[in-house]
Amino acid sequence: MALRDTHVTMAHGGGGRAMRDLIEEVFTSVFQPPGSEDQARLMDEALQQPGARLAFTTDSFVVTPLEFPGGDIGKLAVCGTVNDLAVGGARPLWLSAAFIIEEGCEIALLRRIVASMAAEAALAGVRIVTGDTKVVDRGKGDGVFITTAGVGVIPPGVEIGAQCIRPGNVVLVNGVLGDHGATILAARGDLALSVDLLSDCAGLGHLMQAVLAAAPGLRAARDCTRGGLASALNEMAAEAGVAVELEETLLPLRPEVAGVCELLGLDPLYLANEGRLVLFCPADQAEAAVTAMRALPEGQGACIIGRAHPGTPGRVTLRTAFGGARLVDMLVGEQLPRIC
């Protein structure tokens, strides 16, 4: 226990002994990366199969508050990158984790975040093999930012992506929408809302494997994070060159999430999720995919919500309960609470 501070100071970023102690005691003793070099040296036999490809992705995580009902920034940082690998059909293997820590950050908080990352990585079957820490002056950061990058292997034969979507494919989700976004809005405190919601934050690697096994014709998957279901679908529809029609009556939504949206004038289709994905698969495999997802905790609320059709490419519409239709466009900027 060379680390005696309770809070991070600039000394912990200076490249000296204080930094080394912070890294060893808070980070590497938990993650146990292989070797002592500032790079991980890795091999997995799946990678050497002919036709296998390496999948590589990254995301920075900047959530406020750092801890919230159902998760924390560490859990997000692991799940987010695991999911970006998984939705492309890759088996997630290795993660890097880089921390930008604001001076004054509580070290106990860092330890909780790191523990949460380690637990989530274990659940997902990935290893955090390399990392970095930087300390920035107070007022130049926000507690802690985490950037994870992930490497996985796409086995030979797996070929999914928006370009594989065809008219007639069915659109599915793995559960209720907007829990994460609504939870964070309430947890931030500045709107003084109180609600019993948990973030949906979850790793979806096992769920994707289950879907690939049950519905081998799966065309594409994407996690519905920032910008929500609506943004993911708009991107996919545009890349696929198809139109998508959703059924309002099929969209799974908790009453509390609807309540937050009504109070603030928000649209739940644009709320962020951190454990929800949208899938396109052939109509005849849709039920199998739903069944496979529902067998897993992170797929309890799986259901069909619409289908792709040969309309205006990139156009996403919602058929309302009245039979009316409205365009579900890309969001313009961010969703702002409205009074009118």
Binding site: L193, D196, P255, A258, G259, V260, E262, L263, I339, C340
Partner: protein
């Protein structure tokens, strides 16, 4: 304009400042009840109000609401009668 939604008053939180807790689909937020408060603040608990920018602006009149829904039902029955008449007409034609 004027996003307003029905919320139920579930508790008085600060009588001096006329603040109460309102609930909308399980979401709670403190609101000001100056516009709907009578003499007995506690009597508000359980009442439905129309909430706008953190204020309970109006008490919702349950009877009026029922009447409006009834009018819809009546219209529906009239419609059914009309449809039946239309069907009968067609059958006769």
């Amino acid at each position: 304009m004027c996003l307003g939604i029905p919320g139920k008053i579930i508790a008085i939180t600060d009588a001096a400042r006329l603040m109460a807790m309102a609930e909308v689909s399980g979401v709670r937020r403190e609101v000001n009840v100056a516009c709907v408060a009578g003499n007995d603040l506690e009597a508000l608990v359980g009442a439905w109000t129309l909430i706008h920018v953190g204020f309970a602006m109006s008490l919702i009149d349950e009877d009026e609401a029922a009447r409006t829904l009834e009018a819809l039902r009546d219209l529906g029955e009239a419609q059914e009668a009309l449809d039946q008449m239309a069907a009968a007409d067609e059958a006769l034609a």
